[in-house]
Symmetry: C3
Subunit: 337 residues, 3 copies
Amino acid sequence: MAETLGSLASRFGCELRGDPDTVVSRVATLANADERSLSFLVSRQYRADLDSTRAAAVVLRSEDAGSAPPAMLISDDPYACFARIAAVLYPEPAVPAGVHPSAVVEDGAAVAATASVAANAFVAADAVVGERVRIGPGAFVGPGCRLGTGSRLHANATLVRAVTLGERCIIHPGAVLGADGFGNAMTDEGWLKVPQTGGVRIGDDVEIGANTTVDCGAIEDTVIEDGVRIDNLCQIAHNVHLGAHTALAAMVGIAGSTRIGKRCMLAGQAGVTGHITIVDDVVVGGQAVVSKDITEPGTYAGSFVAEKARDWTRQVGRVRRLGALFERVRRLEKDRE
Amino acid sequence: MAETLGSLASRFGCELRGDPDTVVSRVATLANADERSLSFLVSRQYRADLDSTRAAAVVLRSEDAGSAPPAMLISDDPYACFARIAAVLYPEPAVPAGVHPSAVVEDGAAVAATASVAANAFVAADAVVGERVRIGPGAFVGPGCRLGTGSRLHANATLVRAVTLGERCIIHPGAVLGADGFGNAMTDEGWLKVPQTGGVRIGDDVEIGANTTVDCGAIEDTVIEDGVRIDNLCQIAHNVHLGAHTALAAMVGIAGSTRIGKRCMLAGQAGVTGHITIVDDVVVGGQAVVSKDITEPGTYAGSFVAEKARDWTRQVGRVRRLGALFERVRRLEKDRE
Amino acid sequence: MAETLGSLASRFGCELRGDPDTVVSRVATLANADERSLSFLVSRQYRADLDSTRAAAVVLRSEDAGSAPPAMLISDDPYACFARIAAVLYPEPAVPAGVHPSAVVEDGAAVAATASVAANAFVAADAVVGERVRIGPGAFVGPGCRLGTGSRLHANATLVRAVTLGERCIIHPGAVLGADGFGNAMTDEGWLKVPQTGGVRIGDDVEIGANTTVDCGAIEDTVIEDGVRIDNLCQIAHNVHLGAHTALAAMVGIAGSTRIGKRCMLAGQAGVTGHITIVDDVVVGGQAVVSKDITEPGTYAGSFVAEKARDWTRQVGRVRRLGALFERVRRLEKDRE
């Protein structure tokens, strides 16, 4: 899609410095842009690229604006502005409404006329598929699931049972929502499966990454509030509650019944144990383990940075000899008395 | 499904305190129960809810029993008893036997007449699908696979090749069993793939979580014994052997040829390196790394709890200065002599 | 497939000690071999099995060769030689070319006549499927994808969009390539999705494990060079660049825009943060966290080995008291002055 800078500036409320009739049709990094490209500058680390870029226009803050070409779209929040423009230049391809002949929609399913059910997808008897929902090839919508207006289930994603999606949600390929939680009671004959009778309740504007799993609740529902972002390969166990606008990077695991507040951010491979509470506005570092309540907003961390293996081995050795070191210091203190 | 307390008490051998004709039809937590709900009390932390619950009946230990309504089902193991009752109240929906017209069953596959093969599923020529097996929509059963009586393969799960499931196994959506193990030989031209010729052998009553992967063996089989429970997003590499009734929480990874005993429990994100042995009855904490044999039963741990980032950074700084601290103590000791 | 030792020795350039007419038709470990089996010896730890094996022949180094049966195929690199022979004895089953009637190939897709598109697979309108490519049941090939000669997409794998595979690549089941990277801009209304307009570019001879995810680039492409090996359940974020012949064990996560050199090896559950660079020939230990550039080849580590929980708890306690210990040593040093 091609747009003039004038049109983009007025649509997104930027100040334009440059020719309003200049047309852009793609996005690019400053370094690789061409004369049809729109680029952006957020991080000062790329400031030098601004002078040499061939971009037609750059979205940036007023204080970063240069004196020469390219044209500039001035924004207080250039990254968000760039994102909005990119969504205009790269519209989602239109998908015709209707059910592909190879899809299986069981009798009794309510599929809106504006919805699209792609090849080899499956929709169970009592599922409800809302307006303009798109269900990708091979995706599965199980019994008791409801997909709100404009939500999208990508190829080979699976909504097992009793999953409610709000509006405009995006579920990426391979994600599995609503599988049984890990509920097992030990008995004399081994593990006994505990039926998982809850569902999964997801708000509006939630995005869930590829191959991520969100289990249904044991009795009550697993809940994900509006605007949550979950990256790939995360695990959300039964009865977890994620507050609005919380973001989980890839490979984060949240164990059962844990409650995480609003606007939290957990970095990759972090793990949170079960049955704890994290307040709003908490940031957790990569591969950190949170195993007790976090009651104050702020940034938390708990992992070591890799070092040369020889140095690390020595470091570990010193930690292992700490007991002896404490004892040696104790003796020195005693001698001094 | 609705049942009377009298019928449940006699079926599961509980003492009933209350009206045997009271009917329950759902399960609920104590806090959210209504007059048709059965609830349970296991953890003392919920004891206070017992007095205010509106549940029709509660399963609990004799020593936790209250004096007033609700009705009580007394059990030595209330969690297991509750699980058994929940399985009665929430029976698995019946699935008609037979092969859906959109499924592809290759000539030569042996599919029991009581088995069900759902929409767009695939069964390879020499696969054997036992009595009352249920294969979900989009699931794949590859060559040489055998599914024992009553086992269930959920939607979009994949049995690549040479996977044998015992009876009553449950394989959740997106799980991949029997893909090639990670076998590579370094050569002058780069990595050379080492053919993986073993299979996967799984016992009875095994449950494998969504998007978990279990690789086929390099030469001999990867083995999972009876009653094992594996949560979502776990990795079981080639030639791993998991002893009966062992349970792995989400995101646990077991590297190749490692042997884990019976009744072990590994918490989330734990990792076990290859070619080691863990004895029976070992518990491993979350995100712990097991990289040498564990020869004694017991509980093992190896991760730090996240702290405020500033405190953690200082902590890490101190650990990095440990070498210097050891040296300072050495000097103090020398001076003292 | 059965072969004579004479034929194998001449084909793979080994010295044969034994009867060239002996036939082998399977591979086995030394311990479980029979008279039709070929086995191999690489690790000295299995040297004792050589004397008792019933194998027809063993591939091994000259210096490990025994004096008696079995026959021996002498190789400087017995593991690679064994791999090559195994590939002969266990050829990939032939798959007929053509598109299965249940597959959906959109008009405009270019599918080579020698390619195979299996049951219920999907190929989008402008995808290009090269010679002898095999697309498994339920697999998805989205718009703008290109699969080079001889590449293989296993069952239920998903190439979302703009993914280019070189020749002879293997993508295991459940892998998702080309899903949107995790690009989000915070705004007053919550997270705003940043359109991900790049693709995924993968070289020749790359193997990607089951349920692994490789995201498309934010603007430019995510790149995986020739010969890379990625195990199961790994995460490769947007704009990562993996150098040729690098190998990632299971559950490794690489955050966005990170560049890893050639011939690197990352052990299981290792994590690499975003926007950093790792040079060629780096080895990273299991569950290590790499959060700054690695500028020198070598081996890096950063995880602790699990201990008995009681010992570990004490250890952690000592680390937490390190600040006090430093202070105590400081006082001792001051007193000494």
